[in-house]
């Protein structure tokens, strides 16, 4: 089973993006950073007790699913959309949704367009190898509009083409659009159109059939969400662990109960994960939140208590 493999190996192999700003990319020293990467780190901390015991395998749109299917990676955290076909036909398990995204459009302000419905006849830049091209086709068809797709291989290429004016609109997940916009010298000249034309639940996925490993990934993720719900964060985790009276938090942090053992891990798995990368909110803020150049609002990804969709099932 994968869990045993990971433990035996002493290293978690995590499939990530070859480079997507804010979500996963190596920095000048070769250290991977980003929202998706933090998930890998949390997992490593939970399973192996050390957040740095991760090997990152950059995967492209074409190679990602094969890498997971062939066992080259243990888990794929690479902003992949959860779809029926991928889940059922390609035989993967999407264990959770760590980012609710949707496909949007970015256009230059001076184009004078304020709605995606006005894009009839436009040239649209779009990444290949994703679900976006299907959504795009469907959207234009549904609105009885025509368009010219300009397919691009990766985000940086898409941004380049868009900036150069090779397309009128750039479409990808709204988070990606925001990241791109943030890095532009004249961010104020670009707007993201209000229409979100698709649901893009992004999340980590594992191979079908290895339910134990799937559970580990799923609950590690929910531990991070739950931590936010209960106000547990990197800074106060030790203090909370020793003082909390909330039985659920106790169970979460391994003070009480044996949730960890049930997963095949130890008591403090979730505590380690939270201590290593912080809770969901912290991860969000550190990598893509409004404090970063990317500046994404929480939106759908706020906790359910704050009008979002992030919701951790009970730890019991």
């Amino acid at each position: 089973a994968t869990l045993d493999d990971v433990k035996g190996r002493g290293e978690l192999i995590c499939g990530v993006n070859t480079g997507l700003t804010g979500f996963g990319a190596p920095d000048a020293n070769g250290n991977y950073q980003g929202f998706d990467v933090a998930m890998c780190k949390a997992l490593a901390a939970a399973v192996l007790g050390d957040a740095s015991k991760v090997k990152y395998i950059p995967t492209t749109g074409e190679t990602r699913f094969t890498a997971l299917a062939s066992g080259e990676v243990d888990v794929l955290v690479r902003n992949s959309t959860w779809t029926f076909m991928r889940d059922v036909d390609l035989k993967f398990d999407f264990v959770a949704v760590n980012y609710y995204d949707g496909q949007g459009f970015m256009v230059k302000k001076d184009l004078g367009v304020s709605s995606a419905k006005e894009l009839d006849g436009a040239t649209v830049c779009i990444q290949t190898g994703t679900t976006t091209e299907l959504n795009l086709a469907d959207f234009f068809k549904a609105n009885n509009m025509s368009y010219t797709p300009v397919t691009v291989a990766d985000d940086s290429e898409g941004q380049r083409q868009y900036l150069a004016g090779a397309c009128d609109a750039y479409t990808t997940d709204a988070s990606g659009l925001a990241a791109s916009r943030a890095s532009m010298p004249d961010a104020e000249n670009h707007i993201i159109l209000p229409e979100i034309i698709s649901k893009e639940p992004l999340g980590p996925l594992v191979r079908h059939g290895d339910n134990q490993w799937g559970d580990v990934v799923r609950w590690t993720y929910y531990a991070l969400v739950a931590a936010e719900e209960y106000g547990v964060n990197k800074a106060n985790i030790e203090e909370v662990a020793s003082t909390t009276q909330n039985p659920e938090v106790k169970r979460l942090l391994g003070v009480e109960g044996e949730l960890g053992e049930k997963l095949g891990l130890d008591k403090e798995w979730a505590k380690r994960a939270i201590a290593a990368v912080g809770n969901y909110g912290e991860i969000f803020e550190a990598n893509i939140g409004s404090g970063t150049p990317i500046g994404l609002a929480r939106g759908l990804n706020a906790l359910w208590t704050q009008g979002g969709l992030q919701y951790a099932p009970p730890f019991r």
Partner: protein
Amino acid sequence: MQEQLVFVRNQMLPPEAPPPGQKGIARWMRENLFSGPMNSALTLLGLLAVVWLALHVLPWLMHSVWNANSLNECRQIIQDRWGEGATGACWAMVRERWHQYLYGFYPQDMYWRPNLALLLLFAALAPVLFSSLPRKMLWITALYPATGFWLLWGGTIWAPVVAMMGFVVLWLVFTVLQPRLGVPVSAGIGVVAAAVWWMVLQAPMTDALQSLAPLRIRAVDSRDFGGFLLSFVIGVTAISASLPMGILLALGRKSDMLLVRTLSVGFIEFIRGVPLITLLFTASLLLQYFLPPETNFDIILRVIILVTFFAAAYIAEVIRGGLAALPRGQYEAADALGLDYWQAQRLIIMPQALKISIPGIVSSFIGLFKDTTLVAFVGLNDPLKGITQIVRADINWKGIYWEPYIFAGALFFLICFGMSRYSMWLERKLKTDHR
């Protein structure tokens, strides 16, 4: 008539200088630049092209910035220095990231290891390329695969040592059996023995030796290889591993056994008939279907294997050319002396054919080296696209286009141009050598 016929010159005329218009810069210009209306037009066109290019590229190059932390900072500096609307090159990116272009994510404190490996590579190549060096140096060449591997990947020294011992086993088995069973059979048994060694004894042996004498350096994961280091590793490994395979394929293609010939031709034509990129995708997408379930190894290794196949098909054709250039007499003389097929190949034919093929092998290497950039498409960090993509994913450098391409392109040019000059020199030298 007879009188006028006879002529004897008593005084020899000294040589004279050519008439005016036959020398000097004016003549050179007239002959080389303006020797006709057509030529003059061409010259002017050429000049125009050069000037146009200079006008467009020079200002950009002149406005270079070397010190900045992000693209925006670069743009700011350029505007401050050369005024609103000026454009310029932002080499600060190269300054910050050059090590990734050269070494990928290889740990920075261990750059000496790939450097040393490269130096040793030259030492190992020297005796092959310069026949004047002492033959003893060939030992460096023979040991290089192990040392090079160990330096680059690190880990215990015993792993490569034990692996090399597998070759020793192969050789021992071969030499013991060969007089009785002939070359093909004993080579086959040798390979089987070596395979057994590697599969059964390699791991325990390594561990035992390691515990006896713990000699190890820090291990580096092949995922950390990138940039030109990756290109060199793939290129050099594939070319050297493809040589034996290419020789066998070339011999197979020349064989008079129909089946052997068909298989060789089939392999060569198949590999040469499909684009390298599909082979790379095979490495990353299809190999998992063809290998036994649960086998799983490094994508770099898989890529190297497929690239080796690719190179082998081309090397086989190069060597076939070398074989064709050998006169028939060499085969006949070897036969007449009573040498058998393999002895003749090893002692007479191959040494000569390989020598003739060296320029072809070098140009295959250049081609392959350039093609290693394609590994970007299976998610490896090649120096051109892979690393550039990573750099551009950094929010600081998002939006930089020309500089990374120019930098990587210039390095490629230097390396490839150097090698192609070298191979031309070799070709000339080989032509004047023997025969």
